[in-house]
């Protein structure tokens, strides 16, 4: 029944999308009616998925849609449910925001955007409930194409078209790998339902090949280094609600696929498979966060931060596979829990931050951090709600980012029980990298928030910035609320996730403590975390400080110019900039970057300082690849002579050769 409900909701999303075409230029219809309606459907989907998750059952459905003899197999199980919940819950906030955000005159008409947007949502839902390779890949492609059109909403700008092209190419490289992966997974039975794939017995070599193809295919979608190159291009190009949806939800469909293939379709994994996602994930964490630290475009910064978070998730997947392959079920459940929890968290906090940048972008028409500043006074709603997201993503308790990262570290800490001595030695270093990444993420977020919202406005035009509208406020508040709730009630979330870990690795994370507010996931060790206690303590300290200042100290509020060291005469341009803030990172980790500096002469009267940071990966990996492809294409073009006689001759010779072959046989 729940599955039928899900299908109905996905169809309604599609219907809403097409309804946008009725009056494509009407903001009133799309923004005030269709998008909020879509948001409510998202909420309903989240409720259905939540019910299925708590029930823990499995439902199947076969729809006679598609090619003859290839009906659409659908299935709702706990793994699908948790990601559907993620999709529904975060799309509620994003759709509401989008209702207030899209307007006429920004490239594609709102009605058409409405269609692309809701097709995108519906296809993501279909990816999550597909139970055979055909429906999965069809949904996967619809997802890629609809998001491509959403990314190129402002298609009149050449850079955006270029970003869209990169995205499309990477999406198809990934899809090709997935096609091959499913081809391997069917194991000679030529049945492409997931059920048949579970039953297929693959040799170790073929299973490893399938796992590797899945890692490349889903890694390209998720943004695993070195396949991440489309992320920092596509996210800034897309309108903010689309960036939020892509970063918050679409990347998670790749995680879903990875879990589905790695832990479900392939049966019990081989432990050393996990080393690949683990190592790539760790590298991705550091790579992403370092590049985030040196960005000056706020959306590009968030895109790199998404790369980092994908790294954390893939690290968790790697650990899960290592544990599950070694037969350590409880630890595998712990690592999987951390992974899933982080997916949920990232969906909420990254959507919140992207929407926050969208509101800033609309209010100021500015994406460059160097021209923002002091917006907390002009846009209090956006500023305070974004602050919650920033604190959450920086991993500060009692918000949600802390919970998942803490769980992840717990999983790392207990790798000592692995039966492989060498891996036991190496994995703690991985933990150190995760910690480094988390700390740097905090640094990045201080930069992000500080430069945009704090300090003085760097441009005069920022004085006209206005706060966002009421639909946008509701959307942002919903996502912020999600961040807080996921942070304060981890126990309840973990209990709900129990059915997923049970399905995939056959164990549930035990609860060592009896108290409902205390999270203690590791049996036999006295590690525990009580977010509510932490919140109470923090509030108490803040309250006492305020009271102490109010009652005992000087008893009044003084307002004065900040940071002028008592000297005065400082202007907004003397504030620390985004470049300046990133400079230490740029110097410390220089080998990662390809830096191009333009320094002014000492006597220059109009000095200009310019710095461009690029990824080495473009020159080292992609430029040779592109060169090779172009060389091949040119070689193939040589047979194109442009003369009809020559073309006819080609056909003639082909015909003769084929006839001769037929004759000889």
């Amino acid at each position: 029944m729940l599955l039928v409900g899900c299908v109905a909701l996905l169809l309604s999303w599609t219907a809403i999308g097409f309804a946008g075409l009725v009056r494509p230029r009407s903001v009133l219809l799309t923004g005030r009616v269709l998008f909020p309606l879509g948001a409510l459907l998202g909420l309903a989907l989240a409720a259905l998925a939540g019910a299925s998750l708590l029930g823990g059952g499995v439902e199947r459905l076969i729809l006679p849609i598609g090619l003859p003899n290839l009906p659409m197999h659908l299935r709702l199980d706990p793994l699908s449910s948790i990601f559907l919940l993620l999709l529904g819950a975060s799309s509620f906030g994003i759709s509401l925001f989008a209702g207030g955000y899209f307007r006429v005159g920004e490239g594609t008409a709102p009605g058409l955007l409405c269609l692309q947007y809701h097709l995108f949502l519906a296809s993501m839902g279909l990816v999550l409930i597909a139970n055979d390779a055909y429906s999965f890949l069809v949904a996967w492609e619809v997802m890629a194409l609809s998001s491509y059109f959403l990314v190129t909403t402002q298609h009149r700008i050449p850079e955006i078209r270029r970003a869209g092209l990169i995205y499309l190419v990477m999406a198809h490289v990934g899809a090709l790998c997935l096609l091959l992966c499913f081809g391997v997974l069917q194991g000679g039975s030529w049945l492409f339902t997931f059920h048949a794939m579970r039953a297929a017995h693959l040799s170790l070599g073929w299973a490893t090949a399938a796992f590797g193809l899945a890692l490349v295919g889903f890694g390209a979608k998720a943004g695993l280094v070195p396949l991440h190159i489309w992320l920092p291009e596509a996210h800034p190009a897309a309108p903010s609600p689309v960036s939020a949806l892509m970063s918050g939800v679409m990347l998670k469909t790749a995680v879903y696929g990875m879990l589905r293939v790695g832990l479900d379709l392939l049966g019990r994994p081989v432990w050393w498979w996990g080393l690949a996602p683990l190592v790539l994930g760790l590298f991705t964490i550091i790579y992403g966060v370092l590049f985030a630290a040196v960005q000056t475009d706020m959306k590009r910064l968030l895109a790199y931060s998404s790369v980092e978070n994908v790294g954390i998730v893939f690290t968790g997947i790697g650990l899960t596979i290592i544990f599950a392959g070694s037969g350590l079920k409880v630890l595998a459940a712990l690592a999987l829990l951390a992974t899933l929890y982080h997916c949920l968290n990232h969906a909420f906090m990254k959507s919140l931050l992207f929407l926050g940048t969208g509101a800033v972008l609309h209010a100021t028409k500015e994406r460059n951090l160097g021209r923002l500043g002091g917006l907390i006074h002009r846009m209090p709603w956006v500023a305070w709600l974004t602050l919650i997201g920033v604190l959450a993503i920086a991993g500060l308790p009692p918000l949600n980012g802390f919970v998942s990262e803490w769980l992840m570290l717990q999983a790392f800490l207990f790798t000592g029980r692995l039966p492989h001595a060498f891996v036991n030695l190496l994995i703690p270093m991985g933990m150190a990298l995760v910690v480094l990444g988390t700390a740097l993420a905090g640094y990045v977020m201080v930069k992000f928030y500080g430069v945009i919202f704090l300090g003085q406005p760097r441009e005069a035009s920022l004085a006209h910035a206005h706060d966002c509208g009421w639909l946008e406020r509701i959307g942002l508040s919903w996502l912020a609320l999600g961040c807080v709730a996921l942070g304060l009630f981890p126990l309840q979330v973990i209990r709900a996730l129990g059915s997923v870990t049970h399905q995939l690795v056959g164990a549930v994370v035990p609860q060592a403590s009896s108290a409902w507010w205390l999270l203690a996931p590791v049996p036999g060790r006295s590690v525990s975390y009580g977010p509510l206690v932490f919140l109470m303590a923090t509030l108490a300290v803040v309250l006492m400080t305020v009271l102490a200042v109010r009652l005992a100290y000087h008893q009044r509020v003084r307002r004065g110019p900040a940071w002028d060291c008592g000297a005065g005469g400082l202007t907004a341009r003397m504030q620390d900039t985004a470049e300046g803030f990133g400079q230490p990172i740029r110097n410390l980790f220089q080998p990662f970057f390809e830096i191009e500096r333009e320094l002014p002469e000492p006597a220059d009267l109009a000095p200009r300082y310019r710095i461009v940071v690029r990824e080495r990966i473009w020159r080292l990996l992609y430029a040779p690849l592109v060169g090779a492809v172009e060389g091949l294409a040119n070689a193939a073009a040589r047979i194109q002579r442009g003369r009809i006689s020559v073309y006819l001759l080609y056909s003639f010779v082909t015909l003769l050769v084929l006839l001769a072959v037929a004759l000889l046989r």
Partner: protein
Amino acid sequence: MAHLPLGQQLLDSCAALLLLLSFAMLSQRRVVTLVNLYAVQGAVLAAATLLLAWRTGETHLYISAALTVGLKVVLLPWLLYRLIRKLEVYRDTEPLFNVSGTMLVGLVIVVFAFSLAQPITRLASTATRSSIGIAIAVVLLSFLMMITRRKAISQVMGFLSMENGVLFGAMSASYGMPMVVELGIALDVLVAVLVLGVFFFQIRERFDSLDLHHLESLKERE
């Protein structure tokens, strides 16, 4: 072999005539003569069809013969003459390869076609099975003609004569194609000639000539 029935002998002569006409078209440079040869080829084909219909008593072959006469002896040649008058292309320029060389290649192709037809001949049970090799040769020779010509209109002639070869092949191997297919092909050829006629005018409009090497400038430059 010595005492073949009269009808069979006549059929074989028709087949031989078709092959001869193909060679004539391959060597002919005047466009008007080309159309004449095509009309004669159509007439010979129609005669062969009639003979076969008379010998086998297959009624649909009579219709096929009538269709051939109407379309390939009357209508298409008339259309082509008109086209030639309007476009004022009476001569093809020098072909891409010299004529004697082309004829030699044509000879090799005929030998190839006959060796190709052998296994089919052994399988077929029709009275006309000996002429399958000729049909294949006609098709391949027409193809060769399309390759060696410069003018668009001579290439169309090659295309049409190839269609004759296909029809003759079908007739020799299995007493013709089903009526529906034959009608379809006839319509296709008619439409193709009409469309190509329009196309010629466009080409001449654009390049002031029907010489196809002008089309090479359409190729994408590197």
